[in-house]
């Protein structure tokens, strides 16, 4: 049985509906409309209640999903971090610069060279040159299977940068295949000291070392002679 709408009450009830709707809009989903009086407004009130119920449910669902997604995102981010860390480690490991003799650094390169790797190689070598104060660096490319224009260019850049710091760079371990490709590609390596084997490069480095050393001794002698006079 539907009662006819009581206009005196109606205004109050509509205000109540408005109140509830605005609090729902503000995010408070606990409020419900009273539906004990049955009249024309009851349908609307019930509908609004059902809507609020639905909204509460959907919100709960989406909250749950959001949490799950955040969890997954965190996990993925952690994995990403590990991957980046490992990549960095790999790059670090793949270009070890070691001091093998007084004043002589060696950088053995194994495997294919790409831009990123050569960049890190260059940085490592230059850093090490500055740290140790070595003036001769040997870049051994025995373990590099092929050389293309880009890689040759990077090698040239490395040697030039080392020269700018004040260190001499020798490239050793040039295989017949690499020699062929370099000449075929028309890359000019004449400005760079190249040696066939690491042994040759080491001998050259030591000879150069001796020259430096003798120069120093010569200088000291000269100074002493001058002092004696």
């Amino acid at each position: 049985m539907e009662n006819n709408l009581d206009f005196k009450n109606a205004k109050e009830r509509i205000e109540h509906i408005e109140d509830v709707l605005s609090s729902v809009a503000a995010g408070d989903l606990d409020k419900r409309l009273q539906t004990d009086i049955e009249d024309d407004l009851t349908g609307i009130e019930e509908a609004i209640n059902i809507l609020i119920e639905d909204l509460t449910y959907e919100l709960k669902q989406s909250k749950k999903m959001k949490e799950e997604l955040e969890d997954k995102l965190n996990k993925i981010q952690e994995q990403q971090k590990t991957i980046i860390q490992q990549q960095e480690d790999l790059l670090e490991l793949s270009s070890p610069v070691t001091k093998v003799w007084d004043n002589v650094l060696i950088l053995p390169v194994i495997g294919t060279l790409d831009s990123q790797r050569t960049q890190i190689m260059m940085e490592n070598l230059l850093q090490k040159i500055v740290e140790t104060g070595c003036t001769i660096a040997i870049l051994d490319i025995t373990g590099v299977p092929t050389v293309d224009t880009q890689v040759a260019n990077h090698l040239l850049k490395t040697v030039t940068a080392a020269r700018l710091l004040g260190a001499d760079c020798i490239i050793s371990g040039i295989s017949p295949a690499i020699a062929q490709t370099i000449v075929h590609l028309g890359i000019d390596l004449s400005s760079i000291k190249t040696k066939a084997t690491l042994q040759d490069a080491m001998l050259f480095a030591m000879k150069k070392n001796n020259q430096l050393f003798e120069g120093k001794i010569h200088l000291e002698h000269k100074e002493q002679e001058e002092d004696d006079k």
Binding site: M122, E123, L126, Q127, I129, V130, G133, T135, K157, T160, A161, A162, R163, L164, L165, G166, A167, L212, G215, K216, H218, L219
Partner: protein, 128 residues
């Protein structure tokens, strides 16, 4: 513009036959040009046979400064003075190479001591 910056001169120290220039401030173009003529004048005045330029504090060298440095080496060479640039930082070297400024004909050394040895060796070679 701040007048202080432009009035500041980089000191040039003469030791025996060499001039020692230690750049301790950030280089800007005007200072670079000023330094260039300052060094050349000093070579003329003192008759120095070698110039050591220490750039170990410079964290950034742009193409202008790079060109200025290599230009200065050639100019000093005509005036019979050898220029050695010492203490370039790895990052600076990489930048210069990437810019294609390989500074041919400019001698470099890792530090002041090695630069000094290099200059002495050069002078010896010239004399003999």
């Amino acid at each position: 513009m701040n007048l202080d910056i432009h009035d500041k001169k980089i000191p040039i120290i003469k030791i025996r036959d060499f001039l020692i220039v230690s750049i301790q401030v950030d280089m800007h173009d005007k200072l670079a040009v000023q330094l260039q003529s300052q060094i050349l004048h000093e070579i003329e005045r003192t008759g120095a046979k070698g110039v050591l330029i220490d750039i170990s504090v410079l964290e950034m060298v742009d193409s202008f400064i790079g060109r200025m440095l290599s230009g200065m080496a050639s100019m000093a060479a005509i005036m019979d003075a050898a220029v050695v640039i010492v203490g370039m930082q790895p990052a600076v070297a990489i930048t210069l190479v990437e810019l294609g400024l390989e500074m041919p004909g400019v001698d470099t050394a890792l530090d002041m001591e090695k630069g000094m040895e290099m200059l002495e060796k050069k002078l010896r070679e010239k004399e003999s």
